[in-house]
């Protein structure tokens, strides 16, 4: 049996690989607040979104979570499901966001990051640890998400712009 590897598959593969690599490096960095990571791997997702559209970006995102989980040894752990719920929420948001005209990677980055954090929080609060105290963390987490979403958007935009110019 032969699989035909399309050009799209190849794109997804290299983007996902890049995202996973960044994810694994980031996972080993210490984080000041529980559950808060800069989300640098999101930059790859945003770039994928810009170049190849939502479908590719979605694949890259999911592959990143699963691959990062397998490589990091956290597959199917509570941390893994937190990542997954964040990724799913952020993808849903991105799908909706593509309907807003005129957004650049910055806008997508902010929306995706907020949704990502919200998705993680929702899982943490309703499934893992229903506790009112968690609510007090939410604004802090969302502030961080906003900051990191904004910066990953800027980075993505710069990266995309640079590469587009290089190719032109």
């Amino acid at each position: 049996m032969e699989f035909e590897v399309t050009e799209e598959d190849a794109r997804i593969a290299w983007l996902a690989a890049l995202a996973i690599a960044i994810h694994v490096v980031e996972a080993n960095l210490p984080s000041p607040l529980p559950g808060v990571k800069p989300g640098l791997a999101n930059v790859v997702t945003l770039a994928a979104l810009h170049w190849y559209g939502f479908g590719v970006a979605a694949w890259v995102s999911v592959l990143r979570v699963v691959g990062g989980g397998l490589l990091g040894g956290t597959f199917l752990s509570p941390g893994f499901f937190l990542s997954l719920s964040g990724a799913i929420a952020s993808l849903c948001m991105l799908r909706l966001a593509t309907a807003i005209p005129g957004l650049s990677s910055i806008g997508y980055g902010v929306l995706a990051a907020l949704a990502h954090m919200a998705g993680q929080f929702a899982l943490a609060y309703w499934v893992l640890l229903p506790h009112p105290g968690l609510v007090r963390l939410l604004p802090v987490l969302m502030t961080a998400a906003l900051v990191f979403g904004f910066s990953s958007g800027i980075i993505a935009r710069a990266m995309v712009g640079g590469m587009d110019r290089a190719q032109a």
Binding site: S31, L33, P34, G35, T74, S77, P78, G79, L82, I100, P101, G102, L103, S104, I106, G107, V110, L111, L114, A124, L128, L129, P130, H131, P132, G133, L134, V135, R136, L137, L138, P139, M142, T143, L146, G149, F150, G153
Partner: protein
């Protein structure tokens, strides 16, 4: 940054700001006169009636009296988490999770201070008069 981006960022800022207001109960909601007006002979803390609540996987668990030093062990999803009470503060000292974020959260002393070991399903929050107990009888 496009105009649409600006809209998104502005809306995001508004959302986050309103989250602070909603979850922390308002920045101007202080009581007049303040508590412990005039201080106390007991070294300035109302530790005797401050408690911390331990929550395990969503169920309310032990309530810890921060007025007395000691150690508490809590059985979580993955195994036992250990808490230390000292000088009216409490902290995680041991937990079976990988990241040890709970331990890195350090000492919890004031009303609302909170730490959690998510993988183990154990959380600790310091309650104060508004949400907890007004006095301990012993």
């Amino acid at each position: 940054m496009t105009a649409a981006d600006r809209w998104v960022v502005g809306a995001a800022l508004a959302l986050v700001a309103s989250l602070y207001v909603w979850s922390w109960g308002g920045p101007l909601g202080l009581d007049t006169g303040g508590s412990n007006a005039g201080g106390s002979d007991a070294g300035g803390s109302d530790a005797a009636s401050v408690v911390a609540e331990v929550v395990v996987a969503g169920r309310p668990g032990e309530t810890i009296d921060l007025g007395h030093d000691g150690e508490v062990e809590v059985q979580g999803r993955m195994g036992p988490s250990r808490l230390l009470v000292q000088d009216a503060r409490v902290r995680f000292t041991a937990s079976p999770c990988r990241g040890k974020q709970c331990i890195h959260s350090g000492w919890l002393a004031h009303e609302g201070d909170f730490a959690a070991c998510l993988p183990n399903g154990v959380a600790v929050e310091v309650l104060g008069p508004e949400r907890g107990l007004d006095a301990i009888n012993y």
